[in-house]
């Protein structure tokens, strides 16, 4: 389980929820942070999955 990826995705969800009460002129900050955290979360999950596949192969050798 990639805790880092899940942490980033949870924070992205929180930031996305906060976009609604954010004043209009600053909403771009909310979208930007949400997008960046979501991207980091997805990349981290992919990285973790690839590492586990690597470990699996090593184990079979």
């Amino acid at each position: 389980m990639d805790r880092r990826g899940l942490f980033f995705l949870a924070m992205a969800t929180l930031c996305a929820l906060l976009v609604w009460p954010t004043p209009n002129e600053l909403r771009f900050v909310g979208w930007w942070v949400t997008g960046a955290l979501a991207a980091l979360g997805v990349l981290s999950l992919i990285d973790d999955a690839l590492r586990h596949r690597g470990h699996g192969r090593n184990g079979l050798r």
Partner: protein
Amino acid sequence: MEFTLVVVVVAIAIIFDFVNGFHDAANSIATVVATRVLKPWQAVLWAAFWNFIAFAILPLKVANEIAKIVDKGVVSIGLVFAGLMGAIFWNILTAWFGLPSSSSHALIGGMVGAGMAKAGWHVVNGDKIRKTAVFILYSPMIGLVLGFALIVGLMWLVHRSRKRTRVNKSFRALQLVSAAAFSLGHGANDAQKTMGIITALLVSTNHFSSKVMDDAEAIPLWVVLSCHGAIALGTMTGGWKIVKTMGTKLTKLEPMGGVAAETAAAATLFFTSYKGIPVSTTHTITGAIVGVGSAQRLSAVRWNVAGRVVWAWVLTIPGSALVAALTYWIVDLLS
């Protein structure tokens, strides 16, 4: 009599600013001292200089935002006194329990609590509170994303270098720049909060014209200089003893990590100061340090410390507002 009370409350506000500098000094200098780039006394002088000079570089928009948190028609000496007392009492209480609370949010909570106690919820400027409240989460998250991106970029740049000592030496020197940038952002955002409170008080007592509330550049120089001077003096005094702080408590930082975290936090503080958004410098650097630490591995971050920080985020504004409201009612009863 009124003039004496105004002087006393302004003095309390400036002492609050001094304590803010004292409390936050370590955020700016912990990494430069820990990596022995500077001796503690050199580091505090360096940070204090940039704290002080910030007024000449960054706009005073945060001061205006703070001054307008409570409707200027209800601001009085008693209200500002209660707001400051709420913030001071909350800071002492959280320090007692070891919670890393934000002086900035305590001050905002104090003003809101005292304003509500005096005239109800409608005198509180909802837009300003909303802006401050959402940035309680946004500012550390911006710091986190920037810190993560910077450390990944830097690691990618130096990963082929075999001359590890030369790389470390370069980053030790760069820490001087990143610590200066962070101190500049700290001085700008934090000194302006006290400046805003003093401005609101002096406008309400007719010592300043009300146009000061709308034009940041109209704030008299003596207010600007006393607030920046107080925070710089606080930094000089606090830094002497406080070295072991967020930089070492949350995660261990190497010179490269220190540069990434301080630069990310400084960029966040510059942006928020430019936009007139009051944020906590402690939360911002905490987010940046977590970003740098989690780029290496998530276990590098001490999550129990981070969890205590989150509790302090949630509780500070309502807690200080409650204390300020109680103080206001007591002051009102006595007078």
